[in-house]
């Protein structure tokens, strides 16, 4: 199996899907001639031509609105918004139209489109270029919201997203783009949207995270095993909406203790919803208050403060130990 970065893996998914389905179209700013600022769409123009790989002007509402129209009329557009912070210019099209078309037409029209966009901190950029606002989309009925964490699950989830009959917001953790390589099978592989993954099994604590925060979370899990002799279970959420709460509560029923990690701001973040689901489904099994390690309720700050803002393995470790030490 070839070892790939997440950028390679996403590029492979696009190549494979465009190869086998002529209705898949890629469009966005600098995606064709330039190959995308993060190189995810590199080579697509040469392989599939300018009818299917389209450079657009800076017009986010136009890009998304066009994608909706194409999706309604038989195509499967994969549009790129260059940074997730630029997607707010398209908020209206996503919230008012992409998300509602199936409902509004009572199922007559569907919007099988994917909006790919890099999110997350860790590259010392600044506002509009580093933030995590997945809660906006997860809060919007009608949109699916996916965030991969590794090259392999990124490839599998992007293929699933492209084949999904509904609009999928696909957040790519740019801090992971080139951070490491992973073996990705050459043959096609998908991962169901709406399904979380237990990536490490344990008995004493459940840690739930996703995207770029999976790395510090797993690092903290390693340290707990090495330094404290504690085996924790780690769950990768993968799909933020719809949320796979069965996997969470199954694990919570086993461990009785839960810690949630995300870099999005704390208030009304995905962690809050996960806590609510756990309380609804596994309250009588919990042995300690559920803790959250998250970003703060501020705009993601520029590089001087970025480390302080983002959850680190140390912060996660501290919270995990507090949760483990709380008497039942």
């Amino acid at each position: 199996m070839p070892k790939m970065t997440m950028v390679d893996a996403l590029n492979t998914a696009l190549h494979q899907e465009m190869e086998q389905d002529d209705s898949v179209i890629v469009l966005g700013e600098d995606v064709a001639v330039d190959g995308g600022v993060f190189r995810v769409t590199e080579g697509l123009l040469d392989a599939f031509g300018e009818q299917r790989v389209i450079d657009t002007p800076l017009a986010e509402a136009g890009i998304v609105g066009t994608s909706i129209g194409m999706a309604i009329y038989g195509l499967r557009p994969v549009c790129e918004i260059q940074f997730s912070g630029f997607s707010y210019l398209a908020f209206h099209q996503l919230e008012s139209h992409a998300a509602r078309m199936r409902w509004r037409s009572r199922g007559a029209y569907t919007v099988p489109m994917v909006l790919r966009t890099p999110y997350s901190g860790g590259v010392r950029a600044l506002e509009h270029h580093s933030e995590s606002r997945e809660a906006y989309w997860a809060h919007t009925p009608g949109l699916k919201m996916v965030i991969p964490s590794t090259p392999r699950n990124a490839r599998a989830l992007l293929i699933s997203a492209i084949r999904d009959p509904d609009p999928v917001i696909f957040y790519e953790p740019k801090a992971v783009y080139r951070a490491f390589r992973e073996e990705v099978p050459e043959e096609e592989e998908t991962w169901p949207i709406g399904k979380a993954q237990v990536v490490r099994e344990g008995e004493q604590l459940t840690m739930i995270s996703y995207g770029a925060m999976m790395r510090p979370t797993l690092e903290a899990a390693d340290k707990l095993a090495q330094e404290d002799g504690v085996e924790v279970e780690v769950i990768d959420v993968l799909t933020i909406a719809p949320l796979d709460h069965e996997t969470f509560s199954e694990s919570a029923k086993k461990t009785g203790r839960v810690l949630i990690v995300h870099e999005a701001p704390r208030s009304f973040g995905p962690g809050a919803e996960i806590v609510a689901r756990l309380v609804e489904n596994s309250f009588w099994y919990l042995e300690a208050p559920i803790r959250r390690v998250t970003g703060y309720d501020v705009v993601i700050p520029l590089f001087a403060y970025e480390k302080a803002y983002l959850p680190s393995a140390d912060r996660i470790l501290r919270a995990a130990r507090e949760t483990l030490e709380t008497p039942a």
């Binding site: 600022v37 002007p57 210019l89 010392r124 600044l126 703060y296 309720d297 501020v298 520029l302 403060y305």
Partner: protein, 344 residues
């Protein structure tokens, strides 16, 4: 100083009637300050001292300097992600700009805004931002405020060619003539939106023609000639101060480098780049000033030395300024009130 190819290319012309030697020398010095500020920032960025993104404007200096030379105290501007030149031209201090780039507490935004958001409200800069059409409606509001408060202040909205494909462009132009606000739209058309050639973003690429459909005076000027830019903006400012509403100026210019530091810019044609470099606005004005007797070689050398000294002092100021404590990351979000309605 030896003559470069650029200095031989463009005709000198005759000295402008409405600009004094002092004003022209100010323009020359400001353009040089912007150029060298950005050259310095680039070197420091490449050395790893500055993080984030750095969008440089080498080549475009004549547009902000020619524009801001036509403004006076109380007038306001909005700027963009490529805004170092705009804010230096309006009067920002390079010391505090470098401090911002270095993420220090003495920066204009206490190190939280970085390159893309440098704004000094005391200089009438009401913000720069990384969303390309983000500033247009904001500038419109500022101009409307100038009008409603019965001042004779005007607002200049700087934006790039990329913004003209965004919805905010249309909405701001439409409302500006509807309300006849004292606003000057200055489009710094550097011919590329990141990698995309400007002429591939619209069927109607004649921007003044587009602006005229909203019923405002509009012209396209040579953005590599600071005196021409000044003239066009001065006319627009005069109209705005007289209550005659908005104007639109497209300044054709060129970004000598890539979209950001690190962009290999393979999409830019080599011959095209060399052609525009020959039209560099700084040596061009230098040659004009010498021909017109406004600048000697010694004075030019002294200006350069002063600029270099100012930048060196700026770097030292930035590097010796305190780094912010981590807790500062949590400040300035909004004011919390206690139960008695007092801020806490």
């Amino acid at each position: 100083m030896t003559q470069t190819a650029a200095e031989r290319e463009e005709p000198v012309g005759s000295p402008p009637q409405d600009l004094s030697g002092e004003q022209l020398r100010w323009m020359y010095r400001r353009m040089l300050l912007i150029r060298e500020f950005e050259n310095t920032a680039q070197i420091r960025f490449e050395a790893g001292e500055i993080a984030g993104f750095l969008h440089l404007s080498q080549g475009q200096e004549a547009v902000p300097v020619g524009t801001c030379a036509a403004l006076r105290e109380g007038d306001t501007i909005t700027s963009t992600h490529r805004g170092h030149g705009d804010v230096i031209a309006k009067g920002c201090d390079v010391k505090r700009m470098f401090a911002e780039l270095y993420g220090r507490t003495t920066g204009y935004c206490k190190g939280k805004g970085g390159s893309m958001h440098i704004a000094d409200f005391s200089q009438g800069i009401i913000g720069a931002n990384g969303i390309v059409s983000g500033g247009l409606p904001i500038a419109l509001g500022a101009a409307l405020s100038c009008q409603m408060r019965n001042t004779d202040h005007v607002t200049v909205c700087f934006f790039g060619d990329g913004a003209t494909a965004e919805g905010g462009f249309h909405e701001a132009l439409n409302l500006s003539t509807l309300w006849q606000v004292p606003l000057i739209f200055v489009c710094q058309n550097n011919l590329y939106g990141l990698s995309q050639p400007w002429e591939e973003t619209a069927f109607q690429c004649d921007l003044p023609e587009r602006a005229r459909t909203y019923h405002m005076p509009a012209e396209c000027v040579d953005g590599m000639d600071v005196i021409t830019v000044y003239g066009a903006v001065a006319r627009a400012v005069n109209r705005a101060r007289r209550g005659e509403g908005p104007s639109f100026i497209e300044a054709k210019t060129y970004r000598f480098l890539g979209h950001y530091v690190g962009d290999p810019a393979t999409y830019m044609d080599q011959e095209e780049r060399e052609g525009w470099r020959k039209r560099d606005p700084i040596p061009r004005l230098g040659r004009q000033l010498r021909e017109w007797g406004y600048l000697t070689d010694e004075e030019a050398a002294q200006i350069r030395a002063e600029v270099e000294e100012e930048l060196q002092a700026g770097i030292e100021f930035a590097k010796s300024s305190p780094k912010p404590p981590a807790a500062d990351a949590l400040s300035d979000v909004y004011v919390h009130f206690d139960h008695h309605g007092e801020p806490r």
